[in-house]
């Protein structure tokens, strides 16, 4: 099978049911070889269920899935040799050391990577003799990445990859993934950190209530779905009651929220002129936040403030 014709990870029409509940409703996900693809969406949207089907852990009620040309359900042994997996729920057997976990996982594969090098890379070289269950949350998370990479996989599936990591450890994990991605590793990940997804992913799929609501590059998604609402920050004006009253007085399409010493103002495009006038009258220079993947997320998942949601509707029509 030619890898060029078919995406390296190709899942279509995947449906997962739990009794009467349809958790994943004909959703799909594609990743070309060497791409980093993100899957975002609210809790309960079906991200983990969809990912588990692709990983071969769960059997979908419907759908066609290929990973590197292999069907994870029918060809589990060959598919799992080329895929690394980090599950959302970490599970280490008690009374086993980090070193022993690595050794036993390495024994599953014909030609495993050097786990000593991996432990070093992920900052766990000093924990080899410690029991895995006694590691800190962040260390356990990093160990799960080591185990996912132990077979020198061609593709990794990472469910909430930096859950519980401090910013430094997160950077370390990002750099490590980016480096491996440069060497051709295909990555499929879920995350609740939008800046992480924006930073790492070539393509992003937004899953809402079991369906793919949108997909594209982060730039495309921001262009099409971030909404037209401008987000202004007025630093040092949190206590300026006069300005706040003036802005609130503008009414429809202008939303004003104090945030500590600052004032946050969401402005619908047709009200921008009025807001600018009010601001210059108060001799205030706003800081405008660039639209981000977070806006996309909030718009598409219906969790945005009201004016932004209106804009999302317009964006869909245009």
């Amino acid at each position: 099978m030619s890898q060029e014709e078919q995406p390296f990870v190709d899942a279509r029409g995947v449906t997962v049911r739990y009794g009467d509940l349809t958790a994943v409703d004909g959703a799909g996900l594609c990743a070309a070889r060497g791409q980093v693809v993100g899957l975002i969406g609210p809790n309960g949207a079906g991200k983990t269920s969809l990912l588990e089907c692709i990983e071969g852990i769960r059997t979908p009620a419907a759908g066609v899935i290929r990973v590197g040309g292999f069907d994870p359900a029918a060809d589990r042994t060959r598919m799992t040799r080329i895929a690394g997996v980090q599950l959302q729920q970490l599970s280490y057997p008690p009374r086993a050391t980090v070193e022993e976990m690595c050794r036993v996982f390495a024994s599953f594969y014909p030609d495993p990577a050097d786990h000593g090098v991996l432990l070093e890379r992920f900052g766990l070289a000093g924990e080899r003799r410690k029991q895995a269950v006694k590691l800190s949350g962040g260390q356990q998370q990093r160990l799960s990445l080591v185990l996912a990479l132990l077979n020198d996989p061609q593709v990794v599936f990472l469910d909430e990859l930096t859950n519980g990591l401090d910013p430094a450890a997160r950077r370390l994990v990002w750099d490590e993934l980016r480096r491996r991605n440069d060497d051709g590793l295909t990555v499929v990940l879920t995350s609740h950190h939008m800046e992480e997804v924006e930073y790492l992913c070539d393509r992003v799929n937004v899953l809402v209530a079991g369906r793919i609501a949108a997909s594209g590059t982060p730039a495309e998604l921001i262009r099409d779905h971030a909404g037209q609402t401008a987000r202004l920050v007025l630093d040092g004006r949190g206590g300026d009651r006069e300005l706040r009253a003036a802005l609130t007085g503008l009414g429809d399409g202008v939303e004003v929220r104090p945030a500590g010493g600052r004032l946050l103002v969401d402005v619908r495009p047709d009200r921008r002129g009025d807001v600018d006038k009010a601001l210059s009258a108060a001799d205030c220079t706003p800081r405008e936040l660039p639209p981000s993947l977070e806006d996309v997320y909030l718009n598409l998942t219906g969790q945005a403030a009201a004016p932004a949601a209106d804009e999302a509707e317009n964006a869909h029509v245009s």
């Binding site: 280490y92 050391t97 050794r103 996982f105």
Partner: protein
């Protein structure tokens, strides 16, 4: 792969205090205490047999019970309830490899535990050789199968580690105290003996003592109960056991 899995499970077993202590050390300790008190001289309580000769086959029941009823099912439920077997599904490994390795490790515990017990008996307390050594080996094997079968059934019924621990304790303690494994049945009132007649380990100890001492009792009933236990547990586990 299997040798690595076996090494993995062996190291985890070495760090697991309860089965190591109650399988290897505890039966020997009990023998040392009661052997030290009563010795192995012929005693009227046993119809002229020595206390150590009567006790050693019974204490084998302690080893079988802790490995089969506690260590084996708790180890399986641990892997399943924590999601480790599920994690393995994303690898080429088979969950059955880990459960087989645990079975092997627990069988090794039994062999070592029985070996230590017999060695202590022979060396320290003048334990006499078994009257029917081959029958003894066969009955020990059948009794072990019954205990591990019950353990498998516990692992099939329990969904959480807490449930497994509770059930295993509820089965284990009556088995070691009311079956002659520690307290001789000869000392028990009728009511307690009714209970002991309902416990498979009672029959295992009865049959083991027959093989060691040739006490003349018929062991047909005992063999039937143990064989029936194995069959019922195997069928029940086949029906109820879940990998996840």
């Amino acid at each position: 792969m299997f040798p690595s899995v076996l090494a993995f499970e062996s190291k985890r077993m070495l760090r697991n205090f309860p089965p190591m202590f109650f399988g290897l050390a505890f039966p020997v300790l009990v023998l040392v205490i009661f052997g030290g008190i009563y010795g192995n001289e012929p005693d009227d309580l046993w119809g002229g047999l020595g206390t150590v000769d009567v006790s050693v086959p019974a204490y084998i029941g302690l080893v079988l019970a802790v490995a089969g009823l506690m260590s084996f099912p708790l180890g399986m439920v641990e892997h399943r309830a924590r999601g480790f077997l599920r994690r393995l599904r994303a690898t080429p490994a088979r969950p059955a490899a880990f459960l087989s390795a645990q079975l092997v490790v627990n069988i090794v515990i039994v062999v070592l535990g029985v070996g230590l017990l017999l060695a202590t008996g022979f060396v320290a307390f003048g334990l006499h050789a078994p009257k029917h050594p081959w029958a003894f080996a066969g009955i020990a094997l059948l009794s072990g199968a019954a205990m591990f079968g019950l353990g498998l059934l516990i692992a099939s019924v329990a969904r959480t580690e807490q449930a497994a621990l509770a059930i295993a304790n509820l089965v284990y303690f009556p088995m070691i105290f009311l079956t002659g494994a520690t307290v001789p049945l000869e000392l028990m009132p009728d009511g307690m003996r009714r209970i002991s007649e309902a416990l498979p380990l009672t029959y295992a100890i009865d049959a083991l003592q027959w093989a060691w001492l040739d006490t003349g009792d018929s062991i047909g009933v005992a063999l039937a109960v143990l064989g029936g236990t194995v069959a019922v547990c195997a069928a029940g586990a086949a029906w109820l056991f879940r990998w996840e």
